[in-house]
């Protein structure tokens, strides 16, 4: 049953899962309606955020509740360019409502698409590097790190809401009609954007994969499991952590920009505390520590949320919240962990020809019993 040829086997093992996810995504434009394709494209941007979050949380062990902030920064950088493109020579509409006479100086560079695209990546990375360096240098860890990033997100959204004249306030930046000269909402443009998003997702997936398989990735996991040992081995955890944090922020920024292109608006409600927690749920459901799990998780959760709220608009939160809480309880390693464990058991039984009860004596580090309740207290 299993392929005998070991080269083929290796190929299937290392590429099977990603291809299995990629293929349906590639044919999706042929079968989906415009609306569903647009929705799926939006979910793919979420998958990019999830990849970055998985890198820092699943591999690095640091849960960032600030991904929404970076997502928002990337989104705003892109939206500023698109708004200027749409407005042409006139002042963006929300500025004239707010009584501005001239374009603020820091908006000027965003007339250039190159600057905007660079800012999409570099702005979140710069902020993450600065914050990360300070935070990690003072050895802030675990829950503290999570809550500090949450605090940052809150500050940023308060500031963005408060500075209506330059950021569009609660409304955010809306009504982005064109993108590099094309009509943003047209079906053709949306299909192209879908493929661009898919391409970015694929490329970033490969990048993350390369990273996690490299020495860097191993160090990251080692640091997650025992930071002091890594420190004593002569590595500097501060640099390492800052780097990963910045990387995940940059990915969130890219996702934010792609989100803006597809959805046509960015507002503080996409960068607040609640979206940031939602981003974490994607990785948690998919399974932290497996990159493909993060991608599947983001798509699965978003799909579930849309489907539930469309079917039961009045009470969907009840089901969504319960399902989510249950999945955290019952699938501590997420969907991918669950599959890894149970399907492995099944297939092993089949290949070994053993039909007896499996499980009790199974020694499987990835799916072993939970840590005793007393640790970490």
């Amino acid at each position: 049953m299993a392929p005998r040829d070991s080269a083929l086997r290796t190929f299937v093992w290392t590429w099977g899962a990603p291809l299995a996810v990629a293929l349906p995504l590639l044919v999706a434009p042929l079968v989906l309606s415009d609306f569903r394709l647009n929705l799926l494209g939006k979910f793919l941007t979420y998958a990019i955020v999830a990849l970055g979050l998985d890198l820092i949380w699943g591999y690095g062990g640091m849960l960032s509740l600030g991904q929404g902030l970076f997502f928002g920064l990337g989104g705003y950088a892109m939206a500023m360019y698109l708004k200027l493109e749409t407005s042409g020579s006139r002042l963006p509409d929300f500025m004239s409502w707010s009584g501005l006479e001239a374009l603020p100086i820091f908006w000027e560079p965003f007339r250039s698409p190159v600057v905007a695209l660079c800012a999409v990546v570099l702005l979140p990375m710069a902020i993450a590097s600065a914050v990360g360096y300070l935070v990690f240098r003072s050895r802030v860890q675990g829950v503290y790190f999570s809550l500090i990033t949450q605090g940052l997100t809150l500050i940023a959204s308060i500031l963005f809401i408060g500075q209506q004249a330059v950021t569009g306030g609660t409304n955010g930046i809306t009504n982005l009609k064109t993108i590099f000269g094309f009509t943003r909402g047209a079906a053709g443009t949306q299909t192209v954007l879908y493929f661009v998003t898919l391409f970015c997702l694929g490329a970033l997936y490969l990048l993350c994969r390369k990273l996690t398989q490299s020495r860097f990735g191993r160090l990251l996991v080692a640091m997650r499991d025992d930071e002091n040992r890594v420190r004593f081995l002569g590595y500097n955890p501060v640099t390492l952590k800052t780097l990963v944090f910045a990387l995940s922020a940059g990915m969130a920024g890219v996702a934010g920009a792609l989100f803006v292109c597809q959805v046509g608006l960015i507002s503080p409600s996409s960068m607040g505390v609640i979206p940031s927690v939602e981003m974490v749920t994607w990785v948690a459901v998919g399974g932290r520590g497996t990159l493909i799990g993060a991608v599947v998780g983001a798509i699965l959760v978003s799909l579930g949320k849309s489907a539930l709220s469309e079917s039961y608009p009045e009470v969907w939160q009840l089901g969504f919240g319960a399902l989510f809480a249950a999945s955290v309880m019952l699938l501590p390693k997420g969907v991918s962990g669950f599959l890894q464990r149970h399907v492995a058991k099944l297939s092993r039984r089949r290949t070994d020809g053993v039909a007896g009860p499996a499980g009790g004596d199974e020694v499987d580090p990835a799916a072993g019993p939970e840590a005793p309740a007393t640790t970490g207290r």
Binding site: G16, W97, G169, V263, G289, I292, P313, A344
Partner: protein, 433 residues
Amino acid sequence: MYTSGLDVEDRPAAGTSRRRALCVAMAALAGAALLSACGKANEEAPAPGTTPAAPASDSASIKVGVLHSLSGTMSISEVAVKDATLLAIEEINKAGGVLGKQLVPVVEDGASDWPTFNEKARKLVQQDAVAVVFGGWTSASRKAMLPSFEELNGLLFYPVQYEGLEQSPNIFYTGAEPSQQIVPAVDYLLEKGKKRIYLLGSDYVFPRTANKIIKAQLASKGGELAGEEYLPLGGTEVSTIISKISAAKPDAIFNTLNGDSNVAFFKQFKDAGYTADKLPVLSVSVAEEEVRGIGADNIAGHLVSWNYYQTTDTPENKKFVDAYKAKYGATRVTDDPIEAGYFGVYLWKMAVEKAKSTEVAKVKEAVKAGGIEYNAPEGLVRLDGKNQHTWKTVRIGAVRKDGLIDEVWSSGKPVQPDPYLSAYPWAKELAAK
């Protein structure tokens, strides 16, 4: 700390069978997820890539969308509007429907989240091919939906008063714009000799724009700005703002706070020793529904400005209030946005019947020709052919001890909508299109 030993993905030579199994399972999972999405798409939508066919006009029913926040912070206000819209749809169906067809409401939840409003608006227009959508409350939700309706050529009936300075070809506005609510309210205060006015609002677009209008109006009419302060949305810590107000010694407060902040403000304002006689507050986002949450004794005597109150004395209103209470419970109240969410459906019905079609272009054409008038609970309302806003009677009211609102001033007749305030010389600078 999360430290249990996860495998690093795709580490060669480890857990080989597990790895393969993961591949297979992931494939199955992803395939299933996508298939379900496709299945959904296929059953709901016409062939991909084509625009929806003429919306449901040859079947026995017409789909209409209802899009409000049913969860999240805005649901405190929006659920009641959704209820009123559904009531109107039910009444119309009982009376034979529109063009002889029954209306089928498709309800969606905007979840107090602007990108969600955008998504659901697209879903309603593109996927469900509804003839019209009734929905929205905050300006942010309207701004998020607006591009979708314009791109897809959908139709939105927006039922809430707003800051004006907007006129989308795909939106009919059944709530008031500033000249039908804010401008007369400020005039009323000035007439009553309240010259020093303090502007208090939530930190978002409507209050900031409204206050810009008010400042221009005060400057031209001899009023005086006593101060201007904004509270974060949802903020409930108002003691410092009340101290600032005390220090400024205004004659009146013009209040554009939203939602929960109103509750905190009025409760604590009263406890700071202020009554309506001493320092009246005129609110434009507090209606009967909100008064219930604030507590009538905390806000009694203060002023509000709207186009409709539950006490408005018309035969249509009596019927409306009775029907609403019969359907949703005797303790429920009606108010301005609820009423606008209700009569909007009737206005749309009249436009459709005049156009003899639910097609957006024809409906708009029918409105443009004029004469879409309806005897709403608030009195006669008329859709303006030019700017797609609604002619509405302006009413200033005072909150009673029992939580209802008494009219203390009225424009007497429907006021022509003027979203860009073009009739007011002092508003020239604001109205730059």
